[in-house]
Amino acid sequence: MKKDINSNGYIFLYATVLVVIVAALLTAAALWLQPFQERNEKNEKRINILRAAGIPDVNKDNAAKLFEQHCTASFLLDKNGNAVEDGTLPLFVIDRRISVIPMKGNGLWGPISGYLAIDADSSTIMGANFDHKSETPGLGGEITTEKFQSQFSGKRIMENGRLVPIEVDAITGATKTSNGVKEMIDNTLEAYAPFFEKLKP
């Protein structure tokens, strides 16, 4: 018996079967691979935190061990700068003196993120790193390079106990992304300001 592969019945059947198979395949793959992916993302987060804090030679194999060694505390802050159970602002303490805070912002094409390490006196940036989802390689994508990230080390965020806006050397041809980075840092610091003001004597 030869089927007519252009009859409506066959087309509906074909489409339905195809979609069900594909859906099952993708679901199975997602469920099976999820634990591996989560582990990678967690590891990536640790690498970024340690790198921002200036720990040398961090790679994906030793990140877990180094994080265990260096991260002395981590807690969640509420908007008044108090450590509470259900806070929304995470903070990681590295080697008892560096505070590392996560940042989220917008680049030109999509979200950008990063970590900012702040010294014990709460007024100087120790280091920063950035990541992006979809900035243009060679332009906005340059925010992930050492060259761009190193400019933040040593910048002051507090003058006389007050927050000062950060200055960013923009990347040529990537003004929007560079502005996005500046805005991200300023917004994040503003949110954490109560905590840093409290730390200051």
């Binding site: 074909y14 990678n40 989802k133 390689p137």
Partner: protein, 208 residues
């Protein structure tokens, strides 16, 4: 053997998907500012064209022609998502490089073009080779374009400094235009020009 050679080698030259069929130009603009993403993109498109050609060729007798484009799209999209998920789980660094391009791979016209033009009317093994060949042809052009754009736009190759610092001190400057998308088109145009000059039989008016 000659068939094998023809399917793999021809797309690198006389039937190149970028310079002759002029497909896949949009991704050619997007990923060639540096060499590394161009290599990653070339490799992933090669894998996806080869595998999707193979799958569509295996299914070709059963696909109703009225919904064949949808079926092709579903197969390509599934394949790309699966590959991305696998990379995320087992090669996280590569997947981070690729994240921007996943969408570009799905919409790459070379993949759909080869499915329509070849896989629907040829056997699985031939289709697989054709996909491989076209993917390699595409990668070749990407790498050539990215080589010139990164070298003259940033003075680096694969991120390593090529021009010594003394060049810059003597007044040499990187060409900012190289980084911008139009330059990719100009370089592709120059490649097409060279290719046609060396192969006069490819010029349309000669065939009349």
């Amino acid at each position: 053997m000659s068939n094998f050679k023809k399917l793999i080698i021809e797309p690198l030259r006389k039937t190149n998907p970028v310079t002759v069929l002029v497909l896949g130009i949009c991704s050619c603009l997007a990923v060639t500012a540096q060499l590394k993403p161009a290599l990653v993109m070339g490799a992933s498109v090669t894998v996806v064209t080869a595998l999707s050609n193979l799958i569509i060729s295996l299914l070709r007798k059963g696909i109703p022609s009225r919904i064949r484009i949808i079926v092709q799209l579903v197969v390509v999209a599934t394949l790309v998502i699966l590959i991305d998920q696998f990379l995320k789980a087992f090669a996280y660094d590569v997947s981070k490089q690729l994240s921007v391009y996943v969408g570009l791979i799905i919409t790459n016209c070379i993949i759909m073009g080869r499915l329509e033009a070849f896989a629907l009317s040829h056997g699985p093994w031939e289709s697989f080779l054709d996909g491989l060949g076209n993917g390699l042809g595409y990668s070749l052009i990407l790498v050539i374009v990215a080589f010139f754009r990164e070298l003259f736009g940033s003075g680096t190759l694969l991120g390593y400094q090529v021009f010594p610092q003394s060049f810059y001190e003597a007044g040499y400057q990187n060409n900012g235009l190289m980084i911008l998308p139009p330059m990719a088109l100009i370089i592709v145009g120059v490649i097409i020009w060279i290719q046609r000059t060396r192969n006069p039989e490819m010029q349309e008016n000669n065939q009349k």
